[in-house]
């Protein structure tokens, strides 16, 4: 009897704490990894924080071989905990923080469509070989946006849940229809007040038809000017042919006049990189520096519309573009090291994703994709497209991304209709083949129009997808530059903070 009671007591005895302690020392949190060519590994967690670690570290983390008590591992262990790659509890204490940070990264969705592009006229006085859409004509009735369509476009814009809207006028050459721009701005001002919207106006122009009256109107209405400058005269004028005149001279003269009247901060320029441009990365950067620009945006030419027909001039290998981009970026870094602040915008967008917890409203690198969610295009003929590239595709008679017609199709049909739903299936890189496992998922985006235009379906095929190759390489290159040279990291940080 006595023995039985003792046994019972023994079995009921509280176990030592060690008995309940799990064999595993830490819990994995969601992360992905990428192997760099030199063997190092880039780890990126679910909320976009990254770490570069020696080869084999990922396997050691997964095998629970990182030991907090080992002096050689202690720093790595602490970094992994602090950066949300592992947690010391089964359910991490900071789960709420992770959720909030995830939401912040995706908060570009909160305001839904904010950028509304009005293709105010398709007419243009340039005959650029790569241009996808423009027409050299004086037929205003056929190629300018009608007032009825402008009114309907503004009505639809006012339906957007976004309080801050951007109304961007594109062409053709938008300034050829400046009367249309005035009409649209005046109408939007009234509608904006009624609907409590703040509207930013932008005119995309080659500046050739610019007059002082136009500048005065832009000044009075805080209209921003976005122009194109492809580099030095011998690059720009070959890219942008204008009969009997130098497009470069007109653009540079226009930039000076805009700066004088509108202020430096209200004029920006974009480069379009053509096959010709690829031979002049240094010269293009130096041209921007010579003209006093503090930023440069090195964009590859889009694969749409007329551009794909001009095979010899425009089709170039992604690897050639990457080589061009890297050389130009090195030159930009050199200028910064020499004391001249100039930022490359594409790198700055990626840096903001890498180094800050904030959302980045750049439509080409978003998931869910920027088309429809962030941008909508109203074409000169009243057609509504999912993005600027979608309307260029339409110029090739492919209307896959046409969402309706101004004045005929309702807001709900355009933004939530059957077509928008079909496109939205391919809008998330989190669920696209190849992207779902990619370490760079949170820095990259989904581009159904690009996939469709280049590979024939909206989902795309990652192993030979130019968008994927370009971004994978560039993101890795930017991380490598920062890891290998702390001076470069300092410059890069100044690009996103504005502080040197």
């Amino acid at each position: 009897m006595e023995t039985a009671i003792i046994k019972e007591r023994q079995t009921r005895k509280f176990k030592d704490v060690a008995y309940f302690r799990s064999e595993e020392t830490y819990t994995l949190l969601p992360f992905r990894f990428h192997r760099m060519p030199d063997g190092r590994e880039i780890l990126v967690n679910e909320i976009g924080d990254y770490m570069v670690v020696p080869s084999g570290t990922t396997a050691r983390i997964i095998n629970r071989e990182i030991n907090n008590n080992d002096p050689e591992d202690a720093v790595l262990y602490e970094d992994l905990v602090a950066a949300f790659f592992i947690a010391e509890q089964a359910v991490p204490d900071l789960l709420e923080v992770m959720a909030t940070r995830y939401r912040t990264k995706k908060s570009f969705l909160d305001s839904f469509t904010s950028l509304h592009i009005f293709v105010i006229s398709l007419r243009c006085e340039h005959t650029c070989h790569y241009c996808q859409v423009s027409r050299v004509t004086s037929d205003k009735n056929k190629f300018d946006m009608s007032r009825v369509h402008i009114d309907a476009g503004i009505d639809m814009m006012m339906r957007s849940p976004a309080r801050q809207l951007t109304m961007e006028f594109q062409g053709g050459e938008a300034l050829l229809a400046f009367d249309n721009i005035i009409y649209a701005v005046e109408k939007a001002k009234v509608a904006g007040e009624q609907h409590n919207k703040q509207i930013t106006y932008v005119i995309c122009t080659n500046l050739a038809p610019l007059t002082d009256d136009m500048l005065v109107y832009c000044k009075e209405n805080n209209i921003l000017i976005s122009t194109s400058l492809d580099g030095p005269v011998y690059v720009h004028d070959k890219n942008r042919h204008k009969p009997d005149a130098s497009s470069y001279r007109l653009a540079v003269d226009g930039i000076h006049r805009c700066r004088e009247i509108l202020g430096e901060e209200n004029v920006s320029a974009l480069t379009t990189t053509t096959r010709l441009s690829l031979d002049y990365p240094i010269e293009i950067v130096d041209e921007y520096v010579a003209l006093g620009f503090r930023n440069i945006f090195l964009r590859p030419i889009s694969p749409y519309g007329f551009a794909t027909k001009s095979v010899n001039k425009n089709k170039y290998e992604t690897s050639r573009f990457l080589e061009f981009y890297k050389t130009a970026l090195q030159r930009i870094i050199r200028h910064n090291l020499d004391g001249y602040f100039i930022r490359e915008d594409y790198t700055a967008i990626i840096l903001k994703k890498l180094l800050t917890p904030f959302p980045v409203g750049y439509v080409d690198l978003q998931s869910p994709a920027g088309l429809i969610n962030s941008v909508i295009v109203f074409n000169y003929d009243g057609a509504i497209y999912a993005s600027d590239e979608a309307r260029m595709l339409a110029e090739m008679k492919d209307f896959t991304f046409r969402l309706g017609t101004l004045g005929e199709t309702s807001y709900e049909e355009v933004f939530y209709g059957e077509k928008a739903q079909i496109i939205s299936e391919a809008m998330l890189n989190e669920s696209l083949p190849g992207c779902s496992e990619c370490a760079f998922q949170s820095y990259c985006g989904a581009d159904p129009v690009f996939n469709y235009a280049t590979q024939g379906d909206m989902y795309g095929f990652r192993p030979d997808n130019a968008f994927c190759q370009r971004n994978m390489e560039l993101i890795q290159y930017i991380i490598t530059l920062m890891e290998d040279d702390k001076q470069v990291e300092k410059i890069f940080r100044s690009w996103i903070t504005g502080k040197s």
């Binding site: 992360f31 192997r35 959720a99 995830y102 939401r103 190849g434 990652r462």
Partner: protein, 121 residues
């Protein structure tokens, strides 16, 4: 993992309990632009990958095989992380969007029946 090269075809046989089919599919996806690929279940628990050139060119298989072995391990590691962290990942996403509340100004005047002025907070 058994690796064989016969008649210019690379054959790799793996234990399915170590490299499940979804790991093979995710890994071989990245080979499918260059190579013709097949996956077959040859025995119970054994999966066989067959790789040959699309244009029947003679191939030096050594580097392809070395890369494939490394990639299979990498994709296995990715799968372990994905499997182990699925619940936490779902929790993060669910909590992130469940908490969404648009900022709205109350349309009516806020009442103060107990004498506590909420607008002063």
């Amino acid at each position: 993992m058994d690796v064989q090269v016969t008649n210019n075809v690379l054959t790799v046989t793996v234990d399915e309990s170590i490299y499940p089919e979804k790991v093979l599919l995710k890994c071989l996806y990245w080979y499918s632009d260059t190579w013709q690929l097949e996956i077959d279940r040859v025995h119970q628990g054994r999966l066989q990958i067959t790789i040959h050139a699309k244009d029947d060119a003679i191939v030096a298989w050594e580097p392809v095989s070395a890369r494939l072995k490394r990639d299979l391990i990498d994709f296995k590691l990715r799968q372990i992380v994905a499997d182990e962290t699925r619940t936490i990942r779902e929790l993060i996403v669910a909590k992130a969007f469940a908490y969404y509340e648009p900022e709205e100004t109350p349309l009516s005047i806020v009442s103060d029946p107990v004498g506590f002025d909420p607008t002063s907070v």
